[in-house]
């Protein structure tokens, strides 16, 4: 009947894993084991994402041909594979799995970095309005890209919409930081309220765009509301991958700084962390990755809050392990959710945003309930 507290849980799990020598407080072996497990899970979910779908395909027969043919411009299926199976694997499922992995990793890591930066486990690009800002940037470009911004669109090509989303996300994040932080202390209440206000503002602006948009633009706009990986193709992968990969590889260098920031900004400075630089880079990274994700998949919510939280319960809040683990868990969760979205109402499909919201929103409420006393909300 004894109720476990928040903090006992990881302890108990540790003993269960039998990894940690009692009492040393060293969670690193556990974290490494979990990351190794997550690597396996991510690989497994990627394989499942390739193997499962409305069409049953002997995926093991197709996979060996992929490396050789992926980057060749040759049309048509390799010998021994039907064109349909080839197209389904190479042009439908694979870009979708890759994009799902990138977006999932980007969202989860952005969430973790933002939480570290704001020193609060409820900060999430989706909840505080960064995604909305990125979506607005993308929407502006979709509607104005054909007219007012046409020269920019011509120069940037595929990267135009992700970049517009990035700029939208960046402006929103900077605004949030300015509004929510006073004297180095971030007020959650202010942050969430600012998020609501920004959400309303972006909603209104998007509404304005709807009015001037034509039919085709409207359809593209509608896409931001729900969030989906349905339109995945290699063009989207190549437009989002550079931004997201740069972020994923840069973010481990922020880990020590984010750990230090747990103590507060002043104490972090005292242990030798350049806090202002850390904040600048973090904000840039979060905005870039969120922007790129929103640009290719719309607003997929709650990954950024659920994944880091689950991992903190398991391996602790050390960012050196939390960030890579979040990337892996985010990737595998999103691939799994997307596989579900493709198959649950087959041959039609459900937008993935619906699935993540159904899973994530109750979880968010649960965190709120548990932390109600601590946050002074």
């Amino acid at each position: 009947m004894s109720e476990m507290t928040f903090s006992e849980r990881p302890m108990r799990l540790k003993n269960w894993f039998g990894i940690e020598a009692a009492g040393t407080g060293n969670r690193e072996p556990l974290a490494r084991a979990v990351i190794a497990l997550l690597v396996v899970i991510t690989a497994g979910s990627m394989f499942a994402g390739l193997a499962i779908g409305p069409i049953s395909i002997p995926v093991l027969d197709v996979l060996p041909h992929l490396p050789a043919h992926l980057f060749s411009s040759r049309e048509g299926a390799p010998a021994g594979v039907s064109l349909r199976d080839w197209i389904v694997i190479k042009d439908i499922r694979l870009p979708r799995v890759v994009l799902g992995a990138l977006v999932g990793a980007a969202l989860a890591v952005s969430g973790a970095v933002m939480q570290g930066l704001f020193r609060n486990p409820l900060a999430d690009p989706g909840i505080v309005g960064v995604s909305a800002g990125a979506g607005l940037g993308a929407a502006l470009f979709i509607v104005l890209g054909g007219s007012a911004l046409a020269p920019v669109a011509a120069v940037l090509g595929y990267y135009a919409v992700p970049l517009a989303a990035f700029v939208g996300g960046l402006i929103t994040t900077l605004l949030l930081y300015r509004i929510g932080t006073r004297g180095g202390i971030t007020s959650v209440a202010t942050l969430l309220l600012a998020g609501i206000a920004l959400g309303a503002l972006t909603g209104a602006t998007t509404g304005l765009l709807v009015y001037v948009a034509d039919d085709q633009e409207l359809r593209d706009l509608q896409f931001w509301g729900l969030g989906s990986l349905a339109g995945s193709n290699w063009e989207k992968v190549t437009s989002a991958a550079p931004i997201i990969l740069v972020m994923l590889f840069a973010v481990p260098f922020l880990a020590r700084g984010l750990n230090g920031l747990t103590l507060g900004e002043a104490a972090a400075t005292h242990i030798g962390i350049r806090v202002q630089r850390l904040k600048n880079i973090s904000i840039l990274m979060v905005a870039a990755a969120t922007g790129a994700s929103v640009a290719v998949s719309g607003g997929i919510g709650f990954v950024g809050i659920v994944v880091p939280h689950l991992l903190r319960l398991t391996i602790g809040p050390d960012h050196r392990y939390l960030l890579p683990a979040a990337a892996l868990l985010g990737a595998s969760l999103l691939i799994a959710a997307d596989t579900l979205s493709r198959t649950i109402v087959a041959p039609a499909e459900l937008p993935i945003g619906i699935i993540t919201a159904f899973a994530g929103a109750p979880f968010f409420l649960w965190i709120l309930l548990r932390r109600r006393g601590l946050m002074g909300l």
Binding site: S7, G25, R119, P121, L261, L263, H270, G272
Partner: protein, 275 residues
């Protein structure tokens, strides 16, 4: 590296030099035109009534607050030093330390192990030593946020100690500890234990600057005392010179008297009852 270049036998490298420091918040002047010098190897206590600007002065000295005037540590203007260099020269214990995520004790202290030359074993050893110094041996795996206020304060001190472990490193000037009310939420046993620790640090050649509320602990452990009143320096000097009935009564605007403890024979401060 920087210490290497500038470290010399010059006496100023052993000093904390505070010259005409003024801190303003909005239009209010919190610390006004305050100067003093302290030496490594001494325990300096800053005392004074609440609101006299003690903590603000400490935060100005550690570069946390913007101030006018000069703060030189080991012969160098602290405002010109990077956080990395400053972190190697001095540790800072803040008054209250809320952390934002459920780190365990080992992880919190690990944040102070900034010397990357140490391998894993050395780190583990130092961590255990630091914990035993603050009387928390075996607390490594405990969740920091579940500890009592006093235990949290000692964990933070262990973290700061790890950061500036050797008071006098082989390749640099003496190091400094800046402590903001280090014993404010401790029981009497741990108050003495922690003060002993700070005094030892000074005795081994390091510099210690501590904001203190407890006058008896100050009497017992401090080598020098800076008395502040309304943001200004009221008195500064060796403990026995400064800790006088008249001066303390004036500083705190409350009748205080120095006497000798009947049991231990040590000097203590008591409220003067007027007779």
């Amino acid at each position: 590296m920087l210490q290497h270049m500038t470290f010399s036998s010059d006496a100023s490298v052993c000093e904390l030099h505070v010259n005409r420091v003024t801190v303003q918040m909005g239009k209010t002047t919190i610390v006004s035109n305050l100067s003093f010098d302290a030496k490594a190897g001494e325990f300096l206590a800053i005392i004074g009534p609440s609101g006299s600007g003690k903590t603000t002065l400490l935060r100005a000295m550690t570069g946390e607050l913007v101030c006018s005037g000069d703060v030189f540590l080991a012969g160098q203007d602290v405002r010109g030093l990077s956080p990395e260099i400053q972190a190697e020269m001095r540790g800072v214990l803040p008054q209250a330390s809320q952390i934002s995520f459920p780190l365990n004790v080992a992880e919190v202290i690990g944040l102070g192990l900034i010397d990357r030359r140490h391998n894993k074993n050395a780190r583990t050893r130092r961590l255990a030593e630091a914990l035993s110094k603050v009387g928390l041996s075996g607390f490594e795996g405990r969740n920091y946020q579940d500890l009592s206020g006093g235990e949290q304060q000692r964990v933070q001190l262990a973290r700061v100690l790890c950061q500036v472990w050797e008071p006098v490193p082989i390749d640099g000037p003496p190091r400094w500890l800046f402590l903001d009310e280090p014993v404010s939420s401790l029981d009497i046993k741990h108050q003495y234990q922690i003060m002993q620790l700070a005094a030892e640090y000074a005795a081994r050649g390091g510099g210690v600057v501590a904001v203190m509320h407890d006058l008896n602990l100050t009497l017992t452990f401090a080598d020098k005392v800076l008395v502040m009143q309304k943001g200004q320096r009221l008195a500064f000097g060796a403990t026995e010179e400064v800790m006088r009935s008249d001066l303390l009564s004036k500083a705190y605007d409350f009748p205080l008297s120095l006497t000798r403890c009947a049991v231990a024979g040590a000097p203590i401060v008591v409220p003067f009852n007027g007779r």
